[in-house]
Symmetry: C2
Subunit: 306 residues, 2 copies
């Protein structure tokens, strides 16, 4: 089964305390695809300029990522440059040039419209709605968002959240969107907009999946070294949805497993610049990390003893 | 089996967005005892002034907290006044008057010296060392500390950490002490001082228990309302050690369970001012919260499926 992702296909220049990478593969759709393609097919819809190094996407194409929905048009590709603080907890955006992405209007190819799983990357909610109008009865739609759209496109974002099944965002975004500092209240508020499942990503502290009347904690993988945090959230989404499509049904146990796969995928993403960690990563390594999570969260509890 | 705790027995005036409590029971030893006494006996060593409302400790005495090691001397009791920000994430200390606590020199009563479990509250490491010199071959000693001692009594604190079995502190304190921003590296650095187990408390994000070559995640209990965060860390320690003493041995499964009890105890502490939530709390309610934790962290993972 495949996943359709609509998002940015970009070039990033990133500086971390460990080094600098110039004009490397970036963008939410690339990070998502790199992680999700460990589990199955991914169809990308986006736009790049004529400067984009399309041949660098070959390793993802070989893993059944279909880039035929990415239009290459005259102009410059979406470019982002950022620098991380010594503790990697803060980043400064040095430059953002939208380039051809500024006029992006997603057109879902006919062949992609019946894809059962859809991921709306953190693009303008107006564009997310355009995608929702083009896809035909998907089994599940997930979306991400970001502070910029929470401020500037609030009404449209609220509409999106009434039409999707899963919303992923980070804890600060959930607080900003809901006006609630308490995360549980923030998640419940977002669910009140109509979205059934909310996944709040908390960086090193892991993630929480909020179901209708239950929730589930996924820890962050304990890494001694975080090399480059860029794209961790998109890789999380890719691991989450990628694992979910391998399930026979979207059940509560399946969603719980999927969040663990998301956390594992995010933890691999930060081990190298760009999508580099996914070049030789195998699904078995991800499975092993999820098993480690189980080891780190399981405890025996004999009620009768106390 | 009993636990000996040496720490502050204080009066707090606390203001939160939900209200104000004046001169109520506070101090690390009281919070610890309130939580630990749900599981068994607690012996407190400390000092108070002649203004201390000893009769308010009756509900803890009835739960087998032994305050005979708390000297009441002429002068003022340790007093702390603080106010929390609207989101409860920051607090401002408005006043600290050490009173008779300034001259506190712990004397462990003869009857308490062979108590098998010892908790050193976040007092001056010089005093923590004095306690270690007086107790006789305890089965397990745990300690807490705080930023003030990390700055001002570093050498003595390092000596303490070489002589205890478990160190509990919050994530910011671990970073400050170790000079490592990464929590895993910080914990390993602290273990390098000689302490076998490190428990890092992360507030709403739960806690991590670091063993010699393994670690374990305890989530924070998802509360919709945090009423007063004061004492959560001490209640955590009380729940942790309280549950641990009910075990037949300090094993890896026992420690994992204990951290869950710590997290549960901390979550109850913040539901009311002072130690008030522990007045009518039953051990069964704590057990139920630990069961909820299991529900929120358990997932099935069939390796062969992927």
């Amino acid at each position: 089964m495949s996943i359709l992702v609509v998002g940015s296909v970009a070039l990033d220049t990133v500086e971390t305390p460990f080094g600098r990478a110039e004009r490397v593969l970036g963008g939410s759709a690339n990070y998502f695809a790199a992680a999700a393609s460990l589990f199955g097919g991914v169809q990308v819809v986006g736009v790049v300029g004529d400067d984009y190094p399309m041949e660098q996407l070959d390793f993802l194409r070989e893993r059944s990522v279909d880039y035929s929905g990415v239009a290459q048009v005259p102009g410059e590709s979406f470019f982002w440059e950022g620098a991380y603080s010594f503790d990697l907890n803060n980043r400064e955006t040095l430059e953002t040039r939208l380039g051809v992405f500024a006029d992006f209007e997603p057109v879902i190819p006919e062949a992609f419209r019946q894809t059962p799983f859809v991921f709306l990357g953190n693009i303008d909610p107006v564009l997310q709605l355009q995608v929702l109008d083009q896809v035909e009865d998907p089994a599940m739609v997930a979306c991400d968002t970001m502070n910029y759209w929470i401020e500037g496109r609030r009404d449209e974002l609220v509409e999106v959240l009434g039409r999707v099944d899963v919303a992923l965002m980070n804890d600060a975004e959930a607080r900003q969107l809901s006006g609630e500092h308490n995360l549980l209240r923030a998640a419940r508020w977002i669910q009140g907009l109509g979205v059934r499942y909310v996944v709040l990503k908390k960086g090193e502290h892991g993630a929480i999946l909020y179901g209708p009347d239950w929730l589930f904690f996924a820890p962050g993988y304990p890494l001694e070294e975080v090399f480059d945090p860029t794209g961790a959230g998109d890789a999380f989404a890719g691991g989450f949805l990628g694992a979910l499509v391998t399930e026979s049904a979207v059940t509560r146990p399946a969603l719980r497993r999927a969040v663990m796969y998301g956390s594992a995928a995010g933890s691999f993403a930060v081990e190298a610049f760009s999508v580099d960690r996914f070049r030789d990563l195998t699904v078995l390594e991800v499975v092993q990390r999820v098993e480690e999570f189980r080891e780190m969260t399981t405890f025996e509890h004999e009620l009768e003893r106390v």
